[in-house]
Amino acid sequence: MFKVSNLTVSVEDKEILKDFSIDVSPGEVHAIMGPNGSGKSTLAHVCAGKEDYTVLNGEVLLNDENLLDLDPDERSTRGLFLAFQYPIEIPGVTTMTFLKSSLEAHYKANCKEVLSTPDFMKLVREKAAELNIDDDMIRRPLNVGFSGGEKKRNEILQMALLDPKICILDETDSGLDIDALKLVAEGVNKLRSESRSFIVITHYQRLLDYIKPDYVHIMYKGKIIETGDSTLALDLEKSGYNNYIK
């Protein structure tokens, strides 16, 4: 379903991803762990289509379509969602307005009928309530002055609204206290389904206590050096990366 094969990417002549591959089947949750600078965030950004990266080789396939040929907005409407490590602030644009533009773009791209404004508001409020997001937050400019927890919950709210096929969570646990972490994890767990897959990028085992992965990968110097089940993360937490880095 979602497959990255032999991806080699450089930034300013420095190779960040080296022949990176991962294969994610529907419904699976893959965790990618690794020390700083191993290329985890680069992977997330390249999949979503951020500029400033040079793809030297490889493909990113979603249902056999190569996403690398598409613009970021097209990748989004095809079903790829990236939860940002640092969600971006957009002053002057309320969260509600942003959500509406986003959802309408998705509906339009997928030839679905756009929701009426009352129906849309109802849908947002429903999903927001599950994440403990109040009306006040939705009326504020997008991510402006949001706490770390609010920003991340807002990311999950967008994920819930856009109904993606593959979600990449880029260090979603960073900057969250334990309550916020639980809330976010619950939000993600609610979205788990047979047809939706996740790639969870994290530094810490802690998040994986709440979001149980099917596979755990250790990434180092731009490629996966070890793959296992959830026990790998526990081992890693105990012994650190040194055992795996040869």
Binding site: K50, D71, S76, G92, V93, F98, S101, A105, Q158
Partner: protein
């Protein structure tokens, strides 16, 4: 919120047809002698059947004009205008005194239709629901004026300035050039000499004008400078809201537009003047486009009076415009809300002047400048309080937004106080639409152009909110369209 979405939708629809008002209608045109001379002025005055005093007034302006030179202090560059090559008057033929819309050239009505002014419909609806009265200026002659009868019931005069000169000479003599003197500046002198038409509004005491008054301007004939003259008088305790909206056909030659607008608010009166300006800005290489050198000034002449300017400036190749308020009456209030968008090679030098003369006068300036492409966008403003202006207050907020790396934004505030009780505040910010914001929007399925429209509409929300409902949607639409292609 839904309105912003509206913009996005409209931008989508219109992107195919880049400048939808880019066409010109064929008309037989009657022209004045080429160039500027006493003969030209006599021709115009005669053509308009003006009384002797008006001709004298024009000639006086012309003599003053001859002693003046074009101002060069603004941050704009353009080739010298050759006034000897211009026609200063052109009127569509066969429009002498139409009694109703049926008598109007059908070609012209089609033009209005394209512009989306449902005159007929509006007239039919008159009295049924809230309407916009349109004194439509097509080139130089006011072709048709609607709703005059309805307004006349309240004693409101809304007509072309030519008609006012004929029918209300006392009001015209009393107030014309009482705010903007003939020799105020080079362009106001030029306008005074050769103005061909424009609007006249008089609101009698204690009357609230029951509808938004509106004029749609078009510049339609090649080589014809357009010189409107607008005079609005709000008598004691009255209120009026006036809308001015413009579109122009696409062409290669530069055209000059030098209007003069004078507002007079007497005791306890309020005037709200809103502009959406979308004249042809030139093509993406900076060829062609309108020169917009306008003098707009309001005089809060009476106590407790208020004048509020709201402008959305997206068009024109070169803009030189400073809608100002003279706060003469005690407790009077002046406001200036502005969105100025420049793209491609457009140049804008715009802002306001708030002159505090009376006691306890307050003014507020909210200016949002958006520059994209290779454009230059300057805010130039003067806030001053004079010796007797006890407790003058001003708040200025001046924000600039840059899109891309080749444009520029400039802020040139002048602040002068001669009274120690004055409190003036000035805030300014400059920001840029970042690649990260565009990427974030993209990741949520929002493409670049929609994202820019969304962010820019958010940036100027405070000003858009000031526009009357009738204009708000159009303005938001323009904000999106004006910035198309601004990110590569």
């Amino acid at each position: 919120m839904p309105a912003v979405k509206e913009t996005v939708k409209q931008v989508d629809e219109i992107s195919v047809d880049k400048y939808k008002f880019g066409w010109s209608t064929d008309f037989d045109v009657e022209k004045s002698p080429i160039g500027l001379s006493e003969d030209t002025i006599r021709f115009i005055s005669k053509k308009k059947n003006e009384p002797e005093w008006m001709l004298e007034w024009r000639l006086d302006a012309f003599h003053r004009y001859n002693t003046m030179t074009e101002p060069e202090w603004a941050k704009v560059n353009y080739p010298k205008i050759n006034y000897d090559n211009m026609y200063f008057y052109s009127a569509p033929k066969n429009v002498e005194g139409p009694k109703s819309l049926d008598e109007v050239d059908p070609e012209l009505l089609k033009t209005y239709e394209k512009l989306g002014i449902p005159l007929k419909e509006q007239e039919m609806l008159a009295g049924v629901k809230k309407n916009i009265a349109v004194d439509a200026v097509f080139d130089s002659v006011s072709v048709v004026t609607t709703f005059k009868d309805k307004l006349a019931e309240d004693g409101i005069i809304f007509c072309s300035i030519s008609e006012a000169i004929q029918n209300h000479p006392d009001l015209v003599k009393k107030y014309l050039s009482s705010v903007v003197p003939k020799s105020d500046n080079y362009y106001s002198a030029l306008n005074s000499a050769v103005f061909t038409d424009g609007s006249f509004v008089y609101i009698p005491p204690d009357t609230r004008c029951p509808m938004e008054l509106s004029t749609y301007f078009r510049i339609n004939d090649q080589n014809t400078g357009q010189f409107e003259r607008t005079l609005i008088i709000a008598d004691k305790g009255s209120y009026v809201s006036y809308l001015e909206g413009c579109t122009a056909p696409q062409r290669d030659e530069n055209q000059l537009h030098a209007a003069v607008v004078e507002l007079i608010a007497l005791e306890n009166a309020e005037i709200k003047y809103s502009t959406v300006q979308n004249w042809y800005p030139g093509d993406e290489n900076g060829v062609g486009g309108i020169y917009n050198f306008v003098t707009k000034r309001g005089d809060c002449r009476g106590k407790n009076s208020k004048i509020s300017w709201t402008q959305v400036e997206t068009g024109s190749a070169v803009t030189w415009k400073y809608p100002s308020c003279i706060l003469r009456g005690d407790n009077s209030v002046g406001e200036f809300y502005s969105i100025a968008i420049s793209n491609s090679y457009q140049q804008i030098d715009s802002g306001t002047k708030m002159i505090h003369l009376g006691k306890n006068t307050t003014s507020k300036i909210i200016s949002k400048g958006i520059s994209a492409g290779h454009s230059s966008n300057a805010y130039r403003g003067l806030v001053s309080s004079h010796r007797k202006a006890e407790n003058a207050r001003n708040f200025t907020q001046c924000d600039s937004l840059l899109i891309g790396n080749n444009c520029s934004a400039h802020t040139v505030p002048y602040i002068e106080t001669k009274n120690p009780t004055t409190i003036f505040e000035h805030e300014a910010t400059t920001s840029k639409i970042s690649d990260d914001q565009i990427f974030y929007c993209g990741q949520r399925g929002i493409n670049v152009e929609v994202a820019i429209a969304l962010i820019v509409n958010g940036f100027c929300k405070e000003v858009l909110q000031e526009l009357p409902m009738e204009f708000a949607v159009e303005a938001q639409k323009l904000v999106g369209i004006s910035l198309e292609g601004s990110v590569g």
